[in-house]
Subunit: 222 residues, 2 copies
Amino acid sequence: MLMQSAVNARQFHPAVAAAAPGEREAVDMMGVVMTFKRNAEIYGENEAADYLYKVISGAVRTYKVLADGRRQIGSFYLPGDVFGLEVGSEHAFSAEAVTDTRVLVTKRSVLVSRAERDASAARQLWEVAARELRRAQEHALALIKTAEERVAGFLMDMAKRSSQPDRIDLPMSRQDIADYLGLTIETVSRTFTHLEAIAAIDLPSSRRVVLRNRAALSRLTG
Amino acid sequence: MLMQSAVNARQFHPAVAAAAPGEREAVDMMGVVMTFKRNAEIYGENEAADYLYKVISGAVRTYKVLADGRRQIGSFYLPGDVFGLEVGSEHAFSAEAVTDTRVLVTKRSVLVSRAERDASAARQLWEVAARELRRAQEHALALIKTAEERVAGFLMDMAKRSSQPDRIDLPMSRQDIADYLGLTIETVSRTFTHLEAIAAIDLPSSRRVVLRNRAALSRLTG
DNA sequence: CGTGCAGTTGAGCAAATTCAACGCTTGTGG
DNA sequence: CCACAAGCGTTGAATTTGCTCAACTGCACG
């Protein structure tokens, strides 16, 4: 299988083709596993959207940079999440690894042509797009709220996606959170501190959050 | 055709079935035309999303109301725009007519089953979803910007969708615009006035905007 | 043991909101 | 036909929220 993907290297992601054989690992016939170091670019805005990605471990952020340097993070993707599906032929956002990350990479055309034959594959593809739409809608909804509501909502969302029910290990920096929520790092930091002060959360370390009072937190959500 | 839709009333929108024959008009086999008065509800959040709507004339807003009464407008739909397509089985937003509005209503299942046979119909359906996703992403992007950037961007967007190149007839109130942009009516009003003061726009009346300096406006877009 | 990065905290400031008053248009009833 | 109420929009003043600028801490890594 590994040898076969070497033979078919041209059908995979450029970085896959370039990688030495030992750096990639075939998982099944649906794609190859790639690893990205912290902050490494996975793809760039306006690049051809020829591949779909599924996070195996680590975390990914998609983002845009405005003309004046402001950065807007579109989404964070955690293990199990699929990203890179675009409505057009090009990526609308850039994607980077937040931490060292392993992703399963599959050629989009393979999935699309399979979807044309297999209704359940088509439905899966639709599901990915659907999730993306819902995410964007909820993100827009969050951005009309106050700083405290945004941060509380972010934590609730992360908790829901976390493996442990009430503990969150944040893979991303305060700057990442700020750029996702449309706030400054200072405001995010202050809000974390404030949420700790009112006993809604605990902050054993800056990247670890324990939900101490879910009810209070969800009341702050707006 | 009109009589036939009367016979098949059960497959149409409840309001269609309830309407007297003279109040609806069949356009083609894809659906029936319905009219909604200013501020009339077209569908509600959490209702079954069994129909697709295409604006013929007028304007439509989709929105959610938060627990504390704040309203977030998801989108405005102008003639030619399709709305009501949801990723799940229920509407994520409510929809209302902004002004007296005529829409073409089609049963979703009809389009879906056609898409299963006809690839171009499938592509059209995908296109509608794609536009919706792009819209939501751009909306989120707009909401991290300053008030002036949001308003300028909104006007540029409306101008792009307007029939006349540099003149916009706004169908919606300042409150609608404010709820769409995540601002207050006062801030929207002040920003309009300010844009007029710097000669970026003219305001012959409160609902009419003339773009006087597109370059200045797009510079303010961020 | 420094150096650099990430995060926190404080003080002052700018942007947007809130509260309030007022003008204009529209529609309605006397 | 006029008077007046209601809705919409604008403007002003005070207040609040979040941002900017700046200093400082803790920690990891060379």
